[in-house]
Amino acid sequence: MSEDKKPATNTLGLTKSDYKGGPSTMCKGCGHDRISEAIIQASYDLGLDATNILKMSGIGCSSKTPAYFLGNAMGLNSTHGRMPSFATGAHIANTSMTPIGVSGDGDSASIGMGQFVHILRRNPKMVYIIENNGVYGLTKGQFSATADRQSPSKRGAYPREESIDLCGLALELGATFVSRSFSGDKKQLVPLLKAALSFDGLSFIDVISPCVTFNNHEGSTKSYTHQKEMGVTFHDPYYVSPQDPIDIEYEQGELREVTLHDGSKLLLRKLEHDFDPTDRNASFDAIQRTRNKGEVLTGLIHIDVEARSMSSNSGLTDQPLSMLAQQELRPASGVLDRINDSFRI
């Protein structure tokens, strides 16, 4: 009778579901799933050819998510904290491939800090997303280095150390694309991802992504679940309460107080629309200023449009190294004779 409703397609003639991956195994309501969705949306919008993407990750709940988006892209789920080096190697082997690196705050800010710092310096063309929940999700709720100093963990202890501001750190290290968003802020995150995918260099996105299951306590700025129900505290370590994800929308320049499920508050400050992210001093100032006020700055904090990526700088041939043939790799016959001769005394 009626015609079949065809799903919408993008410039490549692909539907949005062509950009999906396998079913997620995150906890229901986990912020990480929202980020996967944003990646799917941005890729669809851009008409991305997923076979030119390399999904790279470390270890953690966040690092599992590459299984849940861009099912047509190859991916590598490496070791804990080492995504940056694997991504660098994979990308340089074939610079026509853009890595989307997904990491966690434990993965990048604790064990992976060294590689995080050094990949920022190297600046390969890739998207580097940290799904930042201030906690080790997969190992069940220990603090990470981005945990707020004032947040008690599930067992009630306070982290004793200074929390790391990943965007401030990236900026200090000379990163050329520094941004932050919130997992449930599709309106901000999707465009940021699109910009990131188009940038010639490392685009860093710090995405605050609340962990439903751990970090769930009053006073936390990165969580949105609760353990108390009907005045009865269960303390059941084996029960993971399914939650609805938090979605938010707010305007540029606005300060948004996100009230989380447990009643705790997170102050997000979106950059003004006339903010000039190409001015590095202004970027420093903006971070510094909001930080002093206890706000978390979101948006494209810094971009250096003149920066060139490691790959652009490397003087490499256009043909991927991974595809060079024997005649391009092995010196012509005769060269070894010449070399041998040069070692004759």
Binding site: A93, G114, Q115, S322, F343
Partner: protein
């Protein structure tokens, strides 16, 4: 006193950083210009300037390059070690001493002493600023005059050290001439040692093992090099970087076909190498003990996720920082079972520079074909000393990139899966992003449990089958690994050695009346020939350069039926192995056996 021609060693003791190394090389090369296979051993400290260093040059009728356990000529030019240098010299040793050092005459008792006022002679070098750099050449001149090296040979040697730098060469020759002249005028030859031209070198070249290894990698097609500096491996990556631009053509627009990345540490270096190997490039990293220890976790990932790459371990004296500038073969057990869980890593054991080239080149085929990290185990002796070597052999045959899941393969196999063993050899068809384009090939490579289709799995059966296939795959490598080299013998003993121990073994065998059979192992896992050799010999002695007898242990583990007959002889002082040590070990073993 009959002269002894071309059969003695010279030991030169100085402090490092003084430039004496240049002079030492000049002597060695001058001898080579005379056609002598003059080998050298450089015993240097872990320090930049000021600590004791020794350089030993050996010439022998057989052209042996093993380090001599004794020297016939000593230049004890370092005040910090002169006492000990003299004491360690056998009676009759020729000593060329710096008369300014004012060493007690008694110390020279029994030695053949030539005193040279080096400091005074140095003043003849007119330019005071250049003097510190040139004054070492004076002892070169003295040695030349005393033992019969023509000044022209010195000049020619300097030409090879400072190619094209005529002024520099002249300045140096002049300085050497000062010593030469002093010796002719003042020193009366009282010893019997003498060099004479000969034809020992023939077609051979002089090369450091690390440089040959690096060239092998270039010929092997490496295109992604990730490394972190560490002695004695640094010169491998540095030589590679030096040569690759020259040897490998750029594209018509000048685009390079390789990249060399100095990583922030070894964890990142192996990560980059594996990332690149996964993405389809031939990749490598090079390091030594401490770096190998840091690579454990990622190597295990490479084993389990089946990613090709080549890891060079230029071994030095462990444990820990140990003696970073001394040689050892002590990473075998560590490398074989590196990483937690049931892993196993194949490794290659080159014994000389041309094998270093050959094995290095071959490693890339092995890694690609078997989709696993391949370890290349050399050592400081091979890597950082220069060797008079057969020329590096042009590889025969084409590069082997192994099984790749092309569209054709996928169509043919119907049931392709990244980790499915369709050919019964344990080796699946692998993917390369951008090359294997069939939609079925997309998957997430992971270090966690996975089934034949690369999907996450916690199933015990899936896990077990996968691990068993991996094991079969590694065992299967022997067909492509360099086979052991057998030298027949007549004594009731079989000797096993590997790597740089080979040279001392060969020289020892030549000198022994009753010769044991000798099997040189060149790779792990072991070939059947190793089992056969053990079976054939009532007694087997494994000679190696580590404390625990690590190769003997590996043999006992894998060939338990012969374990009770495997004896172990070890040297682990960190100096290059001498023939004497090997000969004594064999004689002792034979003595026990025949007594």
């Amino acid at each position: 006193m009959d002269p002894v021609i071309n059969d003695f060693s010279i030991r030169i003791a100085t402090a490092n950083g003084t430039g004496s190394q240049t002079s030492n090389i000049v002597i060695q090369r001058a001898l080579m210009k005379m056609g002598l296979a003059a080998s050298s051993k450089n015993l240097f400290p872990s320090n930049i300037a000021g600590l004791p260093t020794w350089f030993q040059i050996r010439v022998s009728p057989g052209g042996w390059q093993t380090m001599a356990s004794q020297w016939q000529v000593l230049l004890p030019l370092n005040p910090a070690t002169i006492g000990r240098d003299l004491r360690e010299s056998e009676p009759g040793t020729v000593v060329i001493e710096n008369s300014a050092m004012k060493t007690a005459d008694s110390e020279f008792e029994g030695l053949c002493r030539y005193s040279v006022p080096f400091d005074q002679l140095a003043r003849e070098i007119s330019d005071a600023k250049l003097r510190p750099r040139l004054k070492n050449l004076i002892y070169v001149g003295v040695v030349a005059q005393l033992f019969g090296i023509p000044i022209d040979a010195i000049r020619a040697a300097l030409g090879s050290v400072f190619p094209g730098k005529e002024t520099v060469i002249e300045l140096n020759v002049n300085a050497a001439q000062i010593g030469f002249d002093f010796a002719s005028e003042n020193l009366k030859k009282q010893d019997r040692w003498k060099f004479e031209p000969a034809d020992q070198i023939k077609h051979r070249i002089l090369i450091e093992g690390n440089e040959a290894t690096a060239l092998g990698a270039i010929w092997g097609g490496v295109s992604v090099v990730a490394w972190y500096p560490i002695t004695p491996a640094s010169s491998l990556a540095e030589a590679l970087e030096k040569h690759i631009g020259d040897c490998r053509d750029a594209d018509p627009e000048g685009g390079k076909r390789f990249v060399v990345i100095q990583a922030e540490d070894e964890l990142a270096a192996i990560g980059m190498a594996l990332g690149a190997g996964w993405a389809g490039a031939r990749s490598m990293t090079s390091t030594s003990g401490p770096g190998i220890s840091l690579m454990g976790e990622n190597l295990g990932f490479g084993y389990f996720a089946e990613i090709p790459t080549v890891v060079y371990d230029v071994q030095r004296v462990g444990p820990s920082t140990g003696l970073p500038t001394r040689t050892q073969q002590s990473d075998l057990l560590q490398v074989a079972f590196q990483s937690h869980g049931d892993t196993r890593f194949p490794f290659l054991l080159p014994a000389n520079a041309s094998e270093a080239f050959e094995f290095s080149c071959q490693s890339y085929d092995l890694a690609d074909k078997y989709q696993t990290p391949v370890l290349f185990l050399s050592d400081l002796d091979l890597g950082m000393n220069t060797w008079i070597s057969d020329p590096m052999p042009e590889p025969t045959g084409d590069m082997q990139r192994g099984k790749i899941a092309t569209d054709e393969v996928i169509a043919r196999l119907e049931n392709w899966g990244r980790y499915r063993d369709v050919d019964g050899d344990g080796i699946p068809y692998r993917t390369i992003p951008g090359v294997t384009l069939h939609p079925d090939t997309a998957h997430l490579t992971r270090g966690s449990g996975h089934n034949e289709d690369a999907e996450y799995s916690e199933s015990p059966e899936v896990y077990k089958n996968n691990l068993d296939r991996l094991s079969r795959k590694i065992d299967g490598m022997v067909v492509d690994l360099p086979a052991p080299v057998l030298t027949e013998g007549d004594a009731p003993l079989g000797v096993i050695a590997f790597g740089t121990t080979d040279l001392a073994m060969q020289e020892a065998l030549e000198s022994l009346d009753s010769k044991p059979a000798y099997l040189r192992i060149r790779a792990y896992p072991f070939h059947e020939e190793v089992e056969a050799f053990l079976a054939e010999h009532q007694q087997v002695l494994v000679i190696e350069q580590n404390q625990q007898g690590q190769m003997a242990q590996l043999l006992r583990m894998h060939l338990p039926q012969h374990a009770d007959r495997i004896e172990s002889a070890t040297y682990y002082g960190g100096l290059p192995l001498t023939t004497q040590i090997v000969r004594e070990a064999i004689e002792q073993q034979l003595g026990v056996e025949t007594r």
